[in-house]
Symmetry: C2
Subunit: 186 residues, 2 copies
DNA sequence: CCTAACTGCCTCATCAATGTAGCACTTATA
DNA sequence: TATAAGTGCTACATTGATGAGGCAGTTAGG
């Protein structure tokens, strides 16, 4: 009852996907557990990925690929700030749903630091532009928006699960810009 | 060079404190690593805590004690909503600094579910009151504010480290209610 | 002063997870 | 149809963390 060739690419995909889910849920998830959840033999995982580290790197890489695509699609440098912001938020929410990773663990990965740096710079530059063009307040601690945005998108992806990515983005952008307070105070 | 009695309580305190830090930073941190960081022998940790689980339970318990105190001090049921909100935010930020725990791991702890439930209900009730009294918008997905508040406080505690808890609370409450957008859009 | 409470250090058994190896079997592809 | 790629399954060695035992030494409290 050995399956084969056509499933080869499919298996790899499933290991990556379920691996991402499991590792996000519990970073110390066993390779065996991931293999079972992916409906694949543990040995197969090791045939594709040299080590545990290698699998995690692949998962993180897949996520970063998706993030890069989302950022490109948002056209953060050229598009009108409101449009770019919404597209970015929507894109990252979708990424967080397809590639949910435990962020704090990922940040420790040395090999991704340079890549990460590039993406962060991109977003920071955008947020500066948004501030300069009057979309965002300029009286907040520097980096504050950049700090709260990612976790906001993580929780939006998880807890607004009944909404589409676009609808969730509506909520996020709205509450981000206008806040959850009813009336503007002072 | 064996130290003793007076340090006994101090040692326990240090193990708990550094244990919280380390486990927050990496939930799979070794008991040995925690012991070293606390300047204590590994055996001593096991003398105080029957098992790894026991230590984590103690850490979570210490955090929950602090959270309960903060909620009590905020007087969520009686105090004016603006005041209560600010005191709650400030209190939880302080707790997050003194007892930083990896939240997602903690939520899985069965033994704390009932206790957690009580605290959640308390906060939920307060948020409802705040909505009824007109402080918060009522056109948002149910539970949305309750969802984004905790992670917001976590990141405020970490990334606004140069600000006092009270100052950080100012920022959080302000951005939470008014948002980070410059002008109110229709 | 002397006993009881602790601690540090060394050791040891146990167990779970990692990573490898080899064999039998199935299917795409040339 | 034959070959090669890929999988499942059943071991196996290794490593690292857990938890416990024992002993000498130090100090608070009677």
């Amino acid at each position: 009852m050995g399956r084969v060739r056509a499933d080869a690419t499919r298996n790899l995909e499933r290991v990556l996907s379920t691996g991402a889910r499991m590792l996000a849920d519990d970073p110390s998830a066993t390779i065996a557990a991931i293999a079972v959840a992916a409906g694949v033999d543990r040995r197969t995982v090791y045939r594709r990925f040299a080590s545990r580290e290698d699998l995690m790197a692949a998962v993180y890489g897949a996520r970063y690929d998706a993030v890069e695509k989302a950022i490109e699609a948002a056209r953060l440098r050229e598009a009108p700030v409101e449009v770019a912001l919404h597209r970015y938020v929507e894109g990252i929410i979708a990424v967080n749903r397809k590639w949910p990773v435990e962020t704090s663990r990922m940040l420790r990965e040395e090999t991704l630091h340079e890549r990460r740096r590039g993406l962060i710079d991109e977003v920071d530059a955008f947020l500066r532009r948004a501030t300069d063009e009057g979309l965002l307040r300029s009286d907040l601690p520097p980096g504050w928006v950049a700090t709260i945005l990612p976790p906001l998108l993580v929780h939006a992806a998880e807890d607004l699960s009944e909404l589409s990515a676009a609808q969730a983005a509506d909520v996020v952008v709205d509450t981000l810009l206008r806040g959850v307070g009813r009336t503007a105070r002072s």
